[in-house]
Symmetry: C2
Subunit: 205 residues, 2 copies
């Protein structure tokens, strides 16, 4: 009967999540009050609770949102290009661009912490991380088969090191916003470029 459009409902939901994101990134999950979120979203508690049955649900939705975005990135990149080197370059490009979203990064860090104590969040985060790792591992393995990467390297371990270069930069940038991404990326490429992607054929160390 007097239901509002589905799009409107979806918009409200997003409005709340955006507000929550802003609050969470500034004060953290547990220091953000529902009143904070309501104020930021310019909605009353009654309205908010129509969309999320508890604060915990908002946090969970937050994980899901970040997770979907991250996975989408990898999928998109994998679809576009096929040369291993290009794929890795593109992924790096996209990932490091993500750092521009300071608020999103702050929420990510908040989620790392939440994972320590919240089983539900931990499981989602763990799965997310493992999806990314698997994607990287597959790419490395593929490149090894095609002679683009030293076959002696453990693909899983290499993938984990690559993960670290993302996670680590997110953290360092959150502590010191002056950190420059350009030189960082350049350093990684220079440091890994040599041994790693042997374009010629020099194998052994």
């Amino acid at each position: 009967m007097p239901k509002v459009t589905e799009a409107h409902l979806e918009a409200r939901r997003k409005q709340i999540l955006d507000a929550a994101g802003a609050c969470f990134s500034q004060k953290g999950f547990h220091q953000t009050t529902m009143q904070d979120i309501c104020a930021q979203a310019e909605l009353s508690p009654g309205a908010v609770y129509r969309y999320f049955s508890a604060k915990e649900e908002i946090i969970a939705a937050m994980v899901d949102e970040r997770r979907r975005e991250g996975i989408a990135l990898i999928q998109a990149v994998k679809r576009e290009r096929h040369d291993t080197l290009d794929v890795l370059d593109e992924i790096a490009e996209v990932f490091f661009n993500r750092l521009e979203d300071v608020q999103g990064c702050a929420v990510d860090i908040e989620l790392w912490s939440e994972s320590q104590s919240n089983r539900r969040v931990k499981e989602l985060m763990r799965r997310d991380a493992s999806d990314v790792t698997e994607a990287f591992t597959a790419i490395i393995q593929h490149a090894q088969k095609h002679g683009e990467v030293n076959p002696d390297l453990d693909p899983l371990a290499v993938a984990q090191v690559m993960n670290s270069s993302f996670y680590g930069l997110i953290l360092q940038k959150s502590l010191d916003t002056d950190i420059e991404i350009g030189p960082y990326v350049q350093a990684i490429k220079a440091m890994m470029g040599g041994t790693f992607w042997l374009k010629g054929a020099r194998k052994g160390a």
Copy 2:
């Protein structure tokens, strides 16, 4: 006049901090109640408040504890050996060993999150990170002067990448305890070893 010994006071303080560390690593800062800490320390609120005037003070003391430990590690290593490669190896060894302290790592992650919203903690953490980065940078620069490292690399950026390899592993290990440190370290060395530490004299990429 009936004061108890200084050592006893110090021991009580440590007792509280240890208890807090255990609680924080399990439930996070803001979900740990003072009652939790009291119970874990087997002390009453009154006693705890004799040593720390507020929960916030316990958190601040926690940062300081972790910070001191971390700095001590670098200093110790720098004192013992002088060959650049050995120093880096030793630092890596020591740092990665630190991962065994699961509780400590959980607290670290908690601190990363706390830094987002707590100015005081952020400043301490920032300084800590920058101390470590500076130490690494100095080592790299020294190595470049001695022809052990490609002089074209930006020492600061290299230091940041090295930081990431630690931070990233802490995080990944917290999400999946099965991650093996050995292969990870080996991968880093293999990935960087080539271009990075040119023992011979091959410069250009």
